[in-house]
Symmetry: C2
Subunit: 222 residues, 2 copies
DNA sequence: TAGATTGTTAATCGATTAACAATC
DNA sequence: TAGATTGTTAATCGATTAACAATC
């Protein structure tokens, strides 16, 4: 178990593609696509860097990590760049998702347009409130959470989206993990416990508000 | 200008309260409040650490940075802890906000319950679509973006929330900064350019999806 | 007292940046 | 060629973690 984890870690290091690098990939992708639409054939690290407000060295490192090779004086060929980025992010693969907690945020996410771009298909939305169960939100039927396990099983769902109350999140996370979910996108302000193989991605709104509020209280301390 | 920035930087370092630390504050706050409700009088670093899945050393460093002193064998007195956390996050202060882009996500955020907790009051929501202008969402009137500057001025708005299209975000950011906005909570997948004194907080959904999608493509590389 | 817990210094780690040679 | 840009190594930086003395 530990050995396997070490192997993985070594692979990740060898590939030089850190978590932070992966987070930047979509921004590169977006800008490259826009440049292509404008008729450009190449894009350079300085352009990409200024778009993300980072150093150009970092961009070159990121692109090198996904095996892109640029040309001095020209930059990176746009077609190959877009393809490598799309490929690394796995945009061409289809992944099924379920969403738990169909409140306002959950409903907004069900309509989130970028899911399609990433090949994410929402196979079901779940709640416990009779007010929402049975409704169709953006084409997704809202079901009672009792049906969660069945849906995950039937559709081979890999992604769980959690837009529930803080204190319900861990329990649902456990259930999802039990059913074989591979990655959880969590909007509750809690750090979920899950086994090593399950990716937990936290979207911590409250943390953001804390940073903003703290900054406004005393800008000098930032 | 540079000297001032250096002073600020020194202050921040002196206070030992890093950006990451501030992000953790609300989680501490949440757990401490729950513990108090359960009748506890003290909370220790190990409890807080396991809730956030970090080391207890880090918790003690964070709490030391906001001048909290614990007692050996007991931990931190809950009342004082909650107060210090609340104080550092500035939960008792009122800040006004405007939201631009009243799509599904914008509407969800207008109903976001935690704004109240942080003392954030949404003074106005803005869009350009005639379909939504004039409506009331969660008690907030949706206005044409032409009125943005006026509202910011009249209500001394400090916070701008951007839930607009990627390519519209920078322009609106500029306008907000011009009008004196101090902090921007940005949901567009772009890194906004703004002067030093303006805090930009990015909520990068696309980056999260990229991380999840990349992980599913090849878990071994994580 | 013994043991649990804090508080702090030093070490580690990973990510970013600087420097600069290589290339077209 | 000269100059722009890539690619890579080494240095820096900030955040996390380990180690351990201090305290009740």
């Amino acid at each position: 178990m530990d050995e396997k984890a070490n192997d993985k870690e070594q692979l990740r290091r060898a590939s030089q593609l850190s978590r932070s690098s992966v987070e930047r990939l979509y921004s590169y992708y977006l800008l490259a696509k826009r440049a292509r639409e404008q008729g450009d054939t190449h894009i350079n690290s300085r352009q990409l860097a200024s778009f993300l407000q980072i150093g150009d060295t970092q961009v070159r490192k990121d692109l090198a990590a996904i095996n892109l090779v640029g040309q001095p004086k020209k930059g990176y060929e746009i077609g190959a760049t877009i393809e490598a980025l799309s490929n690394t992010m796995g945009l061409d693969e289809v992944h099924r998702a379920v969403l738990c907690g169909v409140g306002k945020l959950g409903q907004a996410l069900l309509q989130y347009s970028r899911f399609g771009e990433f090949g994410f298909k929402v196979s079901g939305a779940f709640d416990v409130s009779p007010d929402i169960i049975g409704q169709d939100i953006a084409g997704t039927r809202v079901l009672h959470v009792d049906h969660l396990a069945k849906v995950i099983e039937i559709f081979s769902v890999e992604i769980g989206i959690l837009t529930v109350n803080v204190w319900a999140a861990q329990e649902l996370c456990n259930k999802m993990v039990e059913c074989g979910i591979k990655a959880i996108w969590n909007f509750a302000p809690i750090h979920l416990q899950a086994p090593k193989g399950v990716l937990i991605r936290n979207e911590d709104f409250a943390g953001s508000l804390a940073v903003i509020s703290h900054y406004l209280k005393d800008p000098a301390e930032q």
